[in-house]
Chain length 248, copies 2
Amino acid sequence: MSLVEIDDIEGGEILSLHQRILSDIREKILSGAWVPGHRIPFEHELTAQYNCSRMTVNKALSQLAKAGLIERRRRSGSFVRQPQSQAAVLELHDIRIEVEALGLPYRYERLERLKRRSGAEDRALLGLSQSGPVLALEGLHFAGERPFALEQRLINLSAVAEAAEEEFLEIAPGPWLIGRVPWSEAEHRIRAMAADEAIADALDIDAGAPCLVVERRTWSAEYPVTHVRFVYPAESHTLVARFTPSQG
Amino acid sequence: MSLVEIDDIEGGEILSLHQRILSDIREKILSGAWVPGHRIPFEHELTAQYNCSRMTVNKALSQLAKAGLIERRRRSGSFVRQPQSQAAVLELHDIRIEVEALGLPYRYERLERLKRRSGAEDRALLGLSQSGPVLALEGLHFAGERPFALEQRLINLSAVAEAAEEEFLEIAPGPWLIGRVPWSEAEHRIRAMAADEAIADALDIDAGAPCLVVERRTWSAEYPVTHVRFVYPAESHTLVARFTPSQG
DNA sequence: CGTCCCAATATGTATATACATAATCGCCAT
DNA sequence: ATGGCGATTATGTATATACATATTGGGACG
């Protein structure tokens, strides 16, 4: 097929079909229309949409996968990945210490506690390959009377069986875990997010207000232990990291 | 064809033909066996050599071309390119690298450049105790056609006098500084923020949309060098930090 | 002798097809 | 409920084929 025929009349650039598919999908992802985790159309759907062969679609998707924008899973489809980049070291932060450093009384309050078999989302967050029992916790950290941070946590009960017996009513799971499970590796993800209804309600802020989200995954000798997401109202929190260059 | 059949018996890894062609040629180029300017075998020659179809060879060569290792000329053949001169840069948060890791073309564009004596706010940001000349820069980092990050920077001209002569029209000040000023210490501040009118306009997002803000202050042997603030649209960016505890 | 045009050639893009591989779903027996 | 197993499905890789496009080289012709 001629490239000229592909060019639409409204002043678009001359693009090969392959490039057009590529840039269409990139645009969707970078604009946020397709958020991370979103399943993009199957190859056969794109084949129909662009009226081309599967090979052409496949080439475009393979390229996006290589660039790290999407992740492809057989039998499941292709999914938008979290954008990634490296930053320097951060401290593992303990919220109680942060709050007390502000001279405010600290309090933890459990909102929810649920024991279940891990679903696909749980496994993705924890980095588990097989299904197993997990504990899902949600709680609020208070500084004085004001909510300081919302915590959403998953605990891998295969790695920390004793957690199943704990209620975590007023004891935050973070310190509890640190005392029992030595961690060998951790990963932080930090991003900004608009508060949805549920989060706004819990933190007593307006829906749509900007929040800082810190997610941490922790391993103990190859075993995923826990995944936790802290959501801070933007005004309440700044992460600080200070460092000197390593020999590069 | 099965992948196992391709695997040769002498303990090689299991590679697809496509990957094997790729790594063979890469090896030749990186080892210097094929110097820049050298014409690599025609597709039909590689087709014969690897006993595969032209499509497979073409896919491998296209990939090498996209990676910038070779240059392809119709009717003439494919040639080894001059090594792209990427100095390694340190792991500190280089936006060009982040963008290129996404497989997108990178571009920097200056918005504003202003030389002035530092006011109170400038001194606070830089950590200066006395007034002196500073250079205030604002620019946009693009990923393809889309703004990826807004950069607002102050450079302490007492520490980096040569910066006063530089226009920074298409050269981002970050890499420029790294090449000239050795830094001994840095501090990051990370927070979330709602985009105000000016930021929303520059980044082509809605006012009030959540943004991730990364501020960095850098010192070179006690002298404040620069303060920079990167503003990312929330969807476009997640900071990732992976680490192990310092002492077992 | 120079110019124009055509044939040859190497790459660029796309199709239809085939089979391999991995993951999941649902059925079935326990 | 639970675990195993086969069918189904989406992706991964490769082939043969076709035609488009850019560039070069050589021949026809003024």
